[in-house]
Symmetry: D2
């Protein structure tokens, strides 16, 4: 069955991503936004156990009743949960136990998927798989953070996803004003926040065919962009000063040279022709202001993306993360998936080298708070 | 001259608003968002001194060189300033000194305005007057907060702006889908954030002809709306629980009855037919969700407002505060006026009983963080 | 009657201390340790109303029932109270109201004291007077802080208590080892923490006959004492670095010169021969370490004080604030006076130019947290 | 050689204590006071590498230059260090690496100790061994905290140190007033804070021959001792209310019964006849006040300890942690050992079931902040 083989290969990938880790790397939570890798492995498993197996597989034996408390993330509907800042305090369940948990749930899922499930369960299962793929992307962010902020700068692997981040040839693409259709159209899976397809009116605009490079971003640094308030939003300026921000995440200025943490271990020189990455929305907007340009809206991006190459890094847009006209939440825990985050976050469009290929679609709406930058993101200019 | 008489009457009004205050009321800052009334009186004066008199009136004698430090608000361009949380720590300059400062600047302005100033100065002056009117509105918020959070609940005045907040007859107004024009059109003063006029496409929608009343809001409270996470944004739910929010600001539940602070002094019973006020965006959105409705966008509001009565309270919209297409900041300190706040805030539309009549226009974009509620706001449903 | 005239003159002095203030100065609370002067005036009055008049004067009419909430300081026994950090948010009662409150209570006290009260009430009254005198001293600290931290550096008065802080001739006084008696002996008023008189054994020691001067302290600064961790307690070193402490409170380094806030207004040059003042215990201990000396214990101080001149500044001792053998708290609210503070504070001995003359006794135990320095304190070395 | 065999057996014990742990247990830091077990193992090793091997063994090859940064604790003299709250964020070095580090240093120490080192090095070595034994005790505290605060309440081991905590027969021992000698006397190792031996005068006192039991402490709880401010120091009362403290650490009230975490895993009923443990100084003092008694001073304890049984739990005393007369710090990093903590901490006397037997001496001065309670402590009354 296709569903089962999909299930198994997606589930396997989460473990493959973690293969290069030492047990200790699975446990820590250096900042609140990062979760311990073992938590991701457990939480994605808990999703299938809670929403598929327990309600639908009568013979299912719960692995451990306490895991609901440990591996629930933010689903208020399904009971108490470990608060996010406490995840890195839990040495148990061990990594070995989490892998046993995965095997236990996988086994039950295999027997459950022997027969074709009914449509509503199938939809839930597909959501669960997309959910696990989102956590695979987060796993990549979090692993990089855990290793890249360790004073020993340990290696992740010789081969990795950051090997080709070169920017495209820069040019301006012109798009005419008019009414355009926005949002997902089709019958494959998409998230509720991509629905419903609707019209928007866009004025004329131009958008760059390339992401901003490290070379261009270095000019901003050298021109003292981080020290000039006039490029920054008021709250961004506070953020810069409170946190003494002076360069993208993972960059270090050592003996007069700009270095960055590299997944092969250690600090390596900045690659000038690579797209700049790991910047906050604040920095993206400040850079655009310094350039005399602006960020595109998510609607401009969606229309332009049909004509340009995109997809190595998530691209910050000017748009706030808000519901599309006619948006409505699903009932129950599943309804907590997206809608409740629709305030004070910024939309990113595109995909990154850390994204599952089947998530790479033109209507996908990613979102982060404007101060965050540990995800694989970058910046494209518009005017 | 019209400009001078405008100047004088606007300047006078700030003082009239403060007339019922005791000297002590001018000094305190009970929360960071509230500024001491004497600070408002000084800061609005500093605006004219700094941007009109010093650069343009050669004979002008600065009142006190230290006042630039004390009364600058957030203009990074014009030097160091007292940080916002420290304003309530300053006993000097005294209230009497601030009134002397006002008189000194007014006198200089009178002589300056004997002759018609050139156009660019005139524009600046008009901005200064609008700026003072905005601070008059803030003065009303802040004075209410200062008195309404004092354990003695002192009176402001027998006659005041809250005397008629009754809601209109409720009905649904239907608006057809189509392309609409948004933004200020005309030659009178408007703020930079209302420009430029541009097209948007709106789908069909319905909007209520009335604000939500205290009576309706009480049903939400009684139905345990504040205890049910499913109506709340994730960050709103944290806000409710961290701050133990269970009713609008100024409401008190005493001996089984709902009371509220009244500007005539003391606590009085809730007026059921009045519009609910002093709620955060979070509460407005949670109420709408509980009702199975939603908030209008700012564009829906602007189009609908031509056909409904509005204006007793600022109305929360679903829209994030973002630049209109083609928005650009003015150079220099004036450019800091609006643009730098365009992240993580929500737009409110309309006007309130605290608003200067000449600010009451259909394109005016007010904005506050979604957790704030000390301003005169309310809520209108859409679907 | 002596008691009445004492009462009246002590009550009068609190008002005299505040005479040079503007109304605004009575209201603010720039840091948590400082209380608004009007609060001191109200709180000391509340003490007499609550502990003398209400329980003992049948005809007494309470001035305002809400004042118990506003002016209670830390007496948990007597109901809810405004938390310390909120005092500066209260514009009401006004200063005029507080003076009316004082007059109202004074009048009642006058009629109450027409007849000699019984002994237990008399004791309470004397405690109340000593309590007001302690607040007079705090008033002087707080007023200095309020004016001395205002960017306009306003004057308090031409004549003031800091005019003669010159240090004595420095010498070492030698005291022999032996058993000594410590604690109050006599029949006049003393605080419960000075009782009971008891024996301690002291080894040989030497103590300086003079306080440390500004001149000596400047050498410590110039020798980079604030930058060398080895002189500092671990928590002191954190305090220095977190708060960027580099000199005593009220000192400013301007254009290469050391200035300090002066009660006559403005910043004036440091007086080299004056005793150094407004330093924390941490700084006192670090200075002593840098000198290769130490601070005296409170017992050494009490014995030595019979033979040396002391009393311009409170002197930090090495001793922690702990109960004397046999110490016991009085029952009820009065018992909250001292005992509950006997943890994590340091004893200071002596008196300061801000101290009421009748508090100047050799057994008086003052106490502050080791990081505080807004009180009039100084430092004497021992070895 | 005795020194070498001592070295090896002490070093071995640290590893034996950790034997029951899973790798994950070595990594986490659930509160700032707890350090990850792997950090203890590394830090104690770093001590020998830094203070013995590097300065004295010419042929010594440093294991990893970055470890100085990772494993330095608070020695400002020896360079930058990971701040205490960050220790639980470090997944590397791995546990295996730390054990390799230990083996590497042990090997070098073995060759170094082939020949008798000179006296000053020997003293340093003995300090290093005592230092490691102190960390063995901390290891036991921290491991208990890590396991006992995990929602799965995992077991440490079947056999463990808490098996016999029964209290002795209660009686009052009377000690006469007089001059007594306090402090270490002898030629074996002691810490600098136990020196110098000196005289103190003690008044008559009585001290209990038994620690307070869980049974007695439960009466305090049932009598609402945690809800009555009058037993608590002012800052203790804040601590109780801010942290909602209502019982000792590790206690849980489940279905009407008092349970506690047990090292064999899970929650078990309170043993009524065991000594109460894991309470703060605040709680110890509040209990004593409720009983109408007090805590002994450290001097009373030291004198009484010659005549009573003691040693299952550290005993809170009333005494603040201060230098003895004539105390002086050693020069260099070693001088940072004790003196710099001599402010705002309380002395505990005795020893606990977690203490190395050779640390069990009557003059040993342990110290903790008054709010801490994760160490093995208890309470003995005096009057």
């Amino acid at each position: 069955m296709l569903l089962l083989s999909n299930y198994l290969s997606i589930r396997k990938l989460s473990e493959t991503i973690c293969e290069p880790l030492q047990i200790e790397d699975y446990v820590v939570q250096p900042i609140v936004d990062v979760s311990p890798p073992k938590w991701h492995l457990g939480h994605t498993t808990w999703f299938f156990e809670t929403f598929i197996l327990k309600p639908n597989l009568i013979a299912y034996q719960e692995f451990d009743a306490d895991y609901n408390y440990v591996f629930n993330s933010y689903y208020e509907t399904v009971g108490a949960r470990v608060i996010r800042t406490d995840r890195g305090n839990l040495s148990r369940p061990t990594v070995a136990d989490v892998y046993k948990y995965r095997a236990h749930v996988n086994e039950a899922m295999e027997s459950f998927l022997c027969t074709e499930p009914e449509e509503s369960i199938k939809q839930l299962l597909i959501l669960g798989l997309n959910h696990e793929q989102q956590h695979q992307e987060l796993l990549r962010y979090d692993i990089k953070y855990i290793l890249g902020h360790n004073p020993l700068f340990p290696a992740y692997a010789e081969e990795h996803i950051e090997q080709d981040l070169k920017v495209e040839q820069q040019d301006w693409l012109k798009i005419d004003a008019g009414i355009y259709e926005i949002g997902y159209e089709g019958s494959d899976f998409c998230f509720d926040n991509e629905l419903r397809r609707h019209k928007v009116y866009l004025p004329d605009f131009e958008i760059s065919t390339a992401l901003v490079s490290n070379e261009e971003y270095l000019e901003f640094i050298k021109d003292k962009g981080y020290q000039d308030f006039k490029h920054w939003h008021a709250e961004a300026w506070d953020w810069v000063n409170t946190n003494k921000i002076a360069c993208p995440l993972y960059w270090h200025f050592v003996d007069g040279k700009w270095l960055r943490y590299d997944l092969t271990g250690g600090l390596k020189p900045i690659k000038l022709k690579d797209a700049v990455s790991h910047i906050s929305f604040y920095e993206a907007a400040a850079f655009a202001s310094w350039k005399g340009k602006r960020l595109p809206t998510e609607f401009e991006w969606e229309i332009a993306a049909k004509k340009i190459k995109w997809g190595k890094l998530w691209e910050w847009t000017e748009s706030a993360y808000l519901p599309y006209p006619g948006f409505s939440k699903a009932p129950g825990a599943i309804g907590e998936y997206n809608g409740k985050f629709m305030v004070n976050q910024k939309v990113l469009r595109g995909a990154s080298v850390a994204t599952s290929p089947n998530h790479k679609r033109i209507t996908y709406r990613n979102f982060f708070h404007p101060n965050l930058r540990w995800h694989y993101n970058g910046l494209r200019l518009a005017k």
